[in-house]
């Protein structure tokens, strides 16, 4: 034992006796414990789960690319990307994707006209104006809206928005039309914008709000000129996510926007989106291996690329506007 009480003058504290000797501690330090094996096993299992999701994504993209490449053997990429006639389901149809893209973009854009203002105002209300008790009720209820199946929104657009609102305002509105679909998509993504933006607003430090109030700013000035700019990266991220969601939305547009593939220049007419075409084709009897069948993958790949680019832009914007608060 190396630890012994020092003899001589009485120490202030009683001498300490370590329970284990130096040799015991050294042995423990150099031994390989069997308990560590289970630690590693858990690590491997978790890594496998992560790998599975990565592999699934890679697999989906690989299938999309493979089938799309076959499609581009039948139809040239230029005709596909820049053609203005989409008659894929006709005999000897043409495969110009622009009508589908135009309808998709128009619906996404119009839906944002609904979703961004409403979502942001709801977020500002919840974060800056609502009492904690109101927020505790309203936020979960609003998030329930996000759980409504999109087919319900589709019927809502077809059986309420179009006949009860749009046709009253614009009498010539077609039964299936872009506007009703866009409004329904907009309402559908309001909870997404509001909830994520509210998180971003709530994360702005209290000290910054106090700085604003300390300058003699009103609640409105603090909310719009201090808190919103400080939360801009989170707000922009929520909007880009909502746009991606609107681009990919399928059920609402398939039901409410119709299936007339034409360049979407009038929101009160019918138009078919990329996803709308895919639903129509898959629910019909398309022959496996036919050009129409392969075109589904080309359209899918294009949609995937558009959403990918949107997400990349979103990441750039988030990094650009992020303010570091500790």
């Amino acid at each position: 034992m190396t630890h012994r009480a020092v003899s001589g003058t009485p120490p202030m504290a009683p001498p300490m006796h370590h329970a284990r000797s130096d040799e015991e501690i050294a042995r423990a330090l150099t031994s390989t414990s069997s308990a560590r094996f289970s630690e590693r096993l858990i690590g491997y299992a978790l890594a496998a789960c992560g790998l599975l999701s990565v592999l699934t994504t890679v697999g989906i993209v690989a299938v999309l690319i493979e089938e799309a490449l076959q499609f581009f053997g039948d139809v040239s990429a230029v005709d596909f990307l820049f053609g203005t006639t989409w008659t894929a389901l006709f005999a000897n149809g043409s495969f110009g994707v622009l009508p589908l893209v135009s309808a998709t973009v128009l619906i996404a854009a119009l839906s944002m006209v609904v979703a961004i203002p409403v979502g942001l105002l709801v977020a500002i209300y919840l974060s800056e104006y609502a009492s904690p008790r109101v927020r505790a009720v309203v936020k979960p209820v609003m998030e329930l809206l996000a759980g409504v199946p999109t087919i319900v929104f589709g019927y809502f657009a077809l059986t309420f928005i179009t006949p009860s609102i749009l046709r009253k305002v614009v009498p010539g509105t077609e039964v299936f039309n872009v506007m009703a679909a866009a409004i329904a998509v907009g309402i559908m993504v309001v909870p997404l914008v509001a909830s994520l933006s509210e998180d971003a607003l709530a994360a702005v430090p209290r000290a910054l709000r106090e700085g604003g109030y300390g300058m003699g700013a009103t609640k409105m000035e603090v909310a719009t000129q201090v808190v919103v700019p400080a939360a801009l990266s989170g707000i922009v991220a929520s909007i880009v996510l909502a746009i991606s969601r609107a681009f990919g939305e399928t059920m609402i547009v398939a039901i409410a926007a119709g299936s007339k593939a034409q360049i979407a220049d009038d929101p009160f007419e019918s138009a078919q989106t990329m996803t709308g075409f895919m639903v129509q084709a898959f629910s019909g009897d398309v022959e496996t291996g036919s050009t129409v069948y392969k075109s589904l993958f080309a359209v899918g790949l294009l949609l995937f690329l558009i959403t990918l680019v949107l997400n990349l832009i979103s990441n750039r914007i988030v990094a650009r506007f992020r303010e570091a608060y500790d």
Binding site: S131, L208, R209, G212, G214, G216, A230, E323
Partner: protein
């Protein structure tokens, strides 16, 4: 300042304020409750005009709460209830009928942690003037405020950069410049140097002395040396046996640090507790 009685004391060559000093704010019977917690009890003191008043005392004694009552910042805390009178230009600004926004435009505030807005250095200073309807030349105002906050030379070539790109000490001086842009006559400072390094702390202290020539300054500090260095008048708070913040004594700083009247003050300033 004719109301000052000039007398030289041991540690300072500054004039010492006596009780007859011109009063800017008088606080009478101030009580602050946070929900069921009676945080500050029966506080009465005067803040002299164009001088530095230091509020000192151990943690939790309510000195920051008292400070935040002066510009109605406690209104932002839903559970807070402030009672008593805070007389400023003849008006009881603690009256609920008084708009706290107007109070805060005249009584500016600098916080414990520098909190510049995520805007450019220029806009940090210009913002307050803009929302308060400043009509004059904004460039001149920004420059003059930055100069008075002793930071102009360091930032004049990067006014468009974010206020958050500055060091902590620079951010705090930017926040002081921001407060000056409102043309307040009182500036409240809540431990303005506690998050800063010693060099930046000295700069802030020098600035406080300089600003006291034109502004009334009330500063909360837990640093005894700082209170002794910068303030003309000191108000000492402590906790009573019900753990409520109470005022123990108030007086000219030089007097209080050399000749405290209360044993608790002496114990605190000599470092025996707190």
């Amino acid at each position: 300042m004719s109301a000052l009685t000039v007398k030289t004391v041991l540690t300072s060559d500054r004039p010492v304020l006596d009780a007859s000093a011109d009063v800017q704010i008088s606080i009478r019977d101030l009580d602050v409750h946070y929900g069921a917690n009676h945080a500050v009890r029966d506080v009465t003191f005067d803040v002299p005009r164009q001088a530095v008043t230091a509020l000192i005392g151990p943690s939790g004694c309510g000195k920051s709460t008292v400070l935040r009552s002066i510009n109605r910042m406690n209104d932002l805390i839903p559970s807070a209830r402030v009672e008593g009178e805070i007389r400023y230009h003849g008006v009881n600004i603690n009256d609920p009928a008084i708009d706290p926004v107007i109070v805060r435009r005249n009584i500016g505030m600098v916080f414990q942690k520098p909190n510049p807005f995520p805007k450019s250095i220029y806009d940090n200073v210009a913002w307050g003037a803009k929302i308060n309807g400043h009509k004059g030349n904004m460039d001149e105002l920004v420059e003059s405020c930055l100069r008075r906050a002793a930071i102009w030379e360091e930032v004049k070539d990067k006014l468009k950069e974010s206020g958050l790109s500055l060091s902590g000490g620079q951010q705090q001086r930017l926040c002081i410049a921001r407060a000056l842009a409102n043309d307040p006559d009182v500036i409240l400072m809540d431990e303005p140097a506690s998050a800063l390094d010693p060099i930046s702390t000295l700069k802030i202290e020098d600035l406080m002395r300089e600003l006291a020539r034109n502004y009334t300054i009330v500063v909360v500090t837990h640093n005894m040396q700082q209170a002794a260095r910068v303030s003309d008048r000191t108000v000492f708070f402590s906790l009573n046996d019900q753990r409520q913040g109470v005022l123990i004594e108030a007086g000219a700083t030089a007097d209080m640090f050399t000749n405290p009247r209360d044993q608790r003050t002496e114990d605190y300033i000599t470092g025996r507790f707190g």
